[in-house]
Symmetry: C2
Subunit: 327 residues, 2 copies
């Protein structure tokens, strides 16, 4: 295989996907298993990569993980899960555990930021430097890439919890345990199922028509906020709700209505502005590969110049990588 | 004077501020005049800098301008005003005119992005890499700096036009000509004056108390959206409405209510998270100095290496500066 030999982990709340390769169409080996207790789950990932390393060294491992994660490199908890409802996982040092066991450079970001990087490199945001990736599934998550770098400021973005004006007459209270009627609480798959009494994919006829229209209005409202705050060149949407038939044309029409001609850019009205994700379930694992590639590149830079260069994921320009082992 | 000798222009819809110096407390010369027709107005700015250049060459000029501006470097209209209600100014090549006349490197960004850079370098966002600057005056504008770079994607940000849920019982229709009840349309100074029948600074007693409370609720709603989309380490607020007495404590309380403990970071609840701007009316001109400094640095880099390096303002990594003359 040409190019680097990279490891990728998509650590989800329900399953782990681990693979070795260099691109979504250059996958050498892959394993999937349910997410259990942290120790045996991470050990299983480590064992997979150790076996892969027998055939030849890995250059780095990238992890696209469920969150919340501490991603400030200057923070003592860097790379660890923060308080998560997933039993046993709060505070677990996912990146550090992998790095210590495999002794290769490791980078970590959220699953949605990983998917954003994957779609940017090989998918529907290819060639765009500033774009947003949204997943609309049970909940809503979004990652913004600005000039090639994921936004990681005080914390990773939490786009699912945007405030949205209620559609007049919609008395659904909302499903978010924190905000009730935030974006995710009104338009995530869980909210839609609760509002209509069954999952979106089981709706039909007039109810489906009404549900799709409401979904388009709520999604457009959040997209408008994202457009005005992050100025993306494109918005890519994945997740289970994104494949509802007929959603995208409705969404584009409602977005145009919500923007109301401001700032009047033809690009916002074009069919290639809000588009479906291209990589499907491979977006996250592909993001792990991008993260691994950047970790390998940064490690080479450190080895050569003795200093960390500005991190490719935007998480800090002047602090060393914490979860980089020695290859 | 040590350090570079820089020119700065804050080109506002009502007045121009031009200065020569290297920092807000190192201003060598300054001029202010009303914004008239484009040609004589820009000629007056040019004349000021030409006179300053007699004492010694300027390294660069930075412009923080009213908008909307075309800021994509690959776009043929780069540096020009887009369609603006200001008579005669639509399409005017502000940056190009200054660069051609003075033959120095010139950089341009919006007034609010300029102010964001100024507050980051010398003001209330000093030391923060990822932050947001908001001006709440007649309207609302916001600039996001991510890892030291202003977001400039498809267009500059337009934070004033976020959607906000209406406060129950508030039947004010909103003052935005595009969206009616967007953030600016409900919480900008013009909206507040229209809602209460007089400008905010003339309100008193119970009306002032109610107006401040509503202002805090609406501002908090937009701040929440900004937090969830751009993850700032700090939010700095300037503009006429920001100096209403007692607004900040109310705003912090309403923001905590709106975030509702999610994601539960103590930083979001701290008094130094949402803070007043520090530079006042000097923020824009200071931003011009930052832009000038970056233009000078980029020109040195081009002169040395023959290639443009990634632009410091995030407006594109691989295209040459368009408005750079030859010093």
């Amino acid at each position: 295989m040409n190019g680097p030999r990279l490891g990728s982990i998509e650590s989800g709340g329900t399953k782990f996907v681990c693979l070795v390769g260099s691109a979504p169409d250059r996958i050498e080996d892959e394993i999937r298993f349910p997410t259990g207790e942290p120790e045996p789950t991470l050990a299983r990932a480590v064992a997979f990569f150790e076996e892969a390393a027998v055939k030849g060294p890995l250059d780095a491992v990238g992890i696209a993980s469920f969150g919340p994660l501490e991603l400030r490199r200057s923070h003592p908890g860097y790379g660890r899960l923060a308080a998560t409802p997933k039993p046993g996982w709060s505070g677990v040092d996912v990146a550090g555990t992998i790095a210590a066991a495999l002794r290769v450079p490791v980078a970590i970001d959220t699953d949605v930021n990983g998917a954003a990087l994957g779609e940017g490199r090989w998918g529907a945001a290819r060639g765009r430097g500033t774009y947003v990736y949204l997943t609309v599934g049970t909940g809503i998550g979004g990652g913004a890439v600005i000039g090639g770098r994921v936004i990681n400021g005080l914390v990773h973005t939490e786009m699912g919890h945007l405030s949205v004006p209620r559609i007049p007459g919609d008395d659904f209270p909302g499903s978010c345990p924190f905000h009730a009627d935030c974006w995710e609480g009104m338009a995530g798959g869980e909210a839609v199922a609760a509002r209509w009494g069954r999952p979106a994919e089981e709706l039909s006829g007039e109810v489906l028509r009404r549900a799709l229209h409401m979904e388009a209005v709520y999604l457009a409202s959040g997209l408008r906020d994202i457009i005005y705050t992050t100025a993306p060149e494109r918005i890519v949407i994945g997740g289970g709700m994104a494949v509802l038939p007929g959603l995208f044309p409705l969404l584009r029409a409602e977005l145009a209505r919500s923007l109301a001609g401001y700032p009047g850019l033809p690009e916002h009205a074009a069919d290639d502005f809000v588009v479906p994700a291209a990589l499907g379930p491979l977006a996250g694992p592909a993001g792990g590969l991008v993260l691994a590639e950047r970790a390998a590149e940064e490690a080479r830079h450190v080895a050569r110049d003795g200093t960390a260069r500005p991190s490719a994921d935007g998480s800090g320009a002047d602090v060393p990588p914490l979860a980089a082992g020695t290859a």
